[in-house]
């Protein structure tokens, strides 16, 4: 069992006074796969990562990382992990090179090997030109890359990335995704937390959705989308007065009960037959002379997943929440 799992957690509970941060978290991350822990701020993502990386002790529950028990042998776990935290934990007065050499030496790679490894990583992460500048001169994206490089110094088999793209601009984010994808291609076991739904969709084999310290859904992106329902037909009427006609037409062609949103003059219905349902609906409405602003098939996004699972939309990261 241990040999095939990079991370295994059972019933993790963590309380801070009366506040329950984690309320029974189970996780399985098979070796060489990527698990995204998806949830809004305060869902318990960082607490989970901290327990798995030995920074925090769970009140109850067990966890193994790379087959090593986090409570019984924290030092053994630390030899097998790389952690890149939510806030780029680089020393801003050291150069990029010095930061990585320090980390290498603290992984006990030896001075020479630490220096070689630092140069390699700086080149891999396109930081070689900035290598000998103090990192306070780096952009946010460069610091994140350096922080991630720090997590890779020892080529640890299990990697934890806590919100690797929070606070990055779109360019920085796509850069970071490329880097993470290349890691995954090398077979690293990765547990990644994110509050960006598309990030989980894009990078992870498996997604665990958590909210208020509980797992509320688990599966691949496709499975989660299927859970919310398949394809929907959406029609936007030009005239609010005709919404009733639209609703009746969609009830005929759809496979479920249409939902009407008066504010946006939108009617939506789940459909099994895709394009056939769409053409049938358009014909029906055209015959009745109902003018339409828009009509189309929609596939559910992970945003829909979150909404249907929690009853509230996933919070978008805001700069205010990031600043601490």
């Amino acid at each position: 069992m241990e040999s095939t799992l990079g991370v295994r957690a059972r019933g993790l509970v963590k309380k801070y006074g009366d506040v329950v941060a984690l309320d029974g978290i189970d996780l399985d991350v098979p070796r060489g796969t990527v698990l995204a822990l998806l949830g809004p701020n305060g869902a318990g993502k960082t607490t989970t990562v901290r327990i798995l990386t030995t920074l925090l002790r769970a009140d109850s529950g067990t966890a193994e990382v790379a087959g090593v028990d986090v409570r019984r042998d924290p030092a053994g776990v630390r030899r097998n992990i790389g952690l890149s935290g939510q806030y780029a934990a680089v020393d801003e007065y050291l150069t990029g090179f010095e930061n990585l050499v320090m980390i290498g030496r603290l992984y006990h790679l030896g001075k020479k090997r630490s220096e070689e490894r630092a140069r390699e990583l700086l080149a891999d992460f396109r930081l070689d030109e900035a290598a000998d500048r103090p990192t306070r001169t780096y952009s946010g994206g460069m610091r994140r890359r350096l922080d991630l490089a720090g997590a890779l110094v020892a080529d640890a088999p299990v990697l934890f990335l806590d919100e690797p793209t929070t606070g990055l601009d779109p360019r920085g984010r796509t850069d970071m995704w490329d880097v993470i994808r290349s890691l995954v291609a090398r077979g690293t076991t990765l547990l990644l937390t994110t509050q960006y739904l598309e990030e989980a969709d894009l990078l992870a084999d498996d997604i665990v959705v958590i909210d208020k310290g509980r797992i509320i859904a688990h599966g691949t992106a496709d499975e989660l989308k299927a859970e919310v329902g398949g394809v929907r037909l959406e029609v936007v009427a030009r005239d609010e007065a005709r919404l009733g006609d639209v609703e009746r037409a969609l009830a005929d062609v759809g496979s479920g009960v249409p939902r009407v949103d008066r504010d946006t003059r939108t009617v939506a219905v789940p459909v099994d037959t895709g394009v056939q349902a769409l053409t049938a609906a358009v014909r029906l409405l055209d015959d009745q002379g109902v003018a339409l602003d828009d009509v189309g098939l929609r596939r559910p996004t992970l945003d829909d997943v979150f909404l249907s699972l929690t009853g509230h939309a996933a919070e978008k990261a805001t700069e205010k929440e990031d600043a601490r």
């Binding site: 901290r50 992990i81 952690l83 680089v90 020393d91 010095e98 320090m102 006990h108 103090p134």
Partner: protein, 268 residues
């Protein structure tokens, strides 16, 4: 975790902190300019005004051990603010996730304070020599004075290490150390002779280890003004011993406390 690992890890962390002395503008000023300023201010402002019996030169020499003592104690506070900063920035999280000796972060930090204080003492001594301070004892005794100051300050560093792991922000460390350390260094024989203090403060000053540190180094530098009555209280009669005893007790209490706190700390 072997002792060798613990030592080499502490060395790596100390190196990181020492590199920062020359890179962080605040630290550089704190380490080089402010000691010069202190010596000059005390020598010319107080030295001129409070010259005992008109002997400004003697008081100036008397003052030096006090300025040394106060400055190395403030040097020890770098640990508190620096650790609080590391905690806030997530650097401590990173250290704690590495397979390094857990003791190395605090040891490396406090040892860096010693390095900082060595620089401070050299700068202050040179400035002092320029304005007329003289060591009127032997080289060995003078080295003893420096060593005693460094040991005492090192013990204070460990109190600050504990504080730094406990408080919510670096600013709090700075404010707290200011509020606590200023009175501690002034209600003592650092800058004024004991008999000039009002009664109750005299008693505090007699038992204050800052007094004994200043008194001991003053004696070892040979800077006790001629005709000064011998101290009447036990701590000041055995100033070096009393200072060392305090240092040992502080270390015995705060090294374990600070390390326990370190193992529990995560960034906030």
């Amino acid at each position: 975790m072997s002792t060798r690992t613990a030592v080499s890890d502490a060395y790596v962390v100390a190196w990181r902190n020492i590199v920062k002395i020359k890179r962080v503008p605040d630290l550089l000023v704190f380490t080089t300019l402010s000691p010069i300023m202190f010596v000059l201010l005390f020598a010319y402002v107080f030295g001129g005004a409070i010259g005992q019996g008109g002997n400004a030169q003697e008081y100036r020499e008397f003052l030096m051990a006090g300025i040394f003592t106060q400055t190395v104690i403030f040097g020890a506070t770098i640990t508190g603010a620096a650790l609080a900063e590391d905690l806030k920035k997530g650097v401590i999280d990173r250290f704690r996730s590495l397979p390094m000796a857990p003791s190395a972060v605090l040891t490396g930090r406090t040892v860096a304070d010693v390095a900082n204080n060595v620089i401070v003492l050299v700068v202050m001594s040179l400035t002092g020599l320029l304005v007329g301070w003289r060591i009127r004892s032997s080289v060995l005794e003078a080295l003893g004075a420096y060593a005693l100051l460094l040991v005492f300050a090192y013990a204070i560093s460990w109190i600050m290490a504990w504080v730094g792991m406990l408080v919510p922000s670096p600013e709090v460390v700075n404010n707290a150390s200011f509020v606590i350390i200023f009175p501690l260094t002034f209600i003592a024989v650092t800058f004024v002779p004991l008999d000039t203090l009002p009664g109750p403060l005299q008693t505090i000053a007699e038992w204050n280890p800052v007094s004994s540190a200043a008194q001991a180094s003053r004696e070892l530098f040979g800077n006790i003004p001629a005709g000064t009555p011998d101290p009447t209280s036990w701590p000041l009669q055995h100033a070096a011993l009393y200072t060392l005893a305090w240092s040992v007790v502080i270390l015995a209490v705060f090294v374990p406390l600070a390390n326990a706190q370190y193992r529990r700390s995560t960034s906030r």
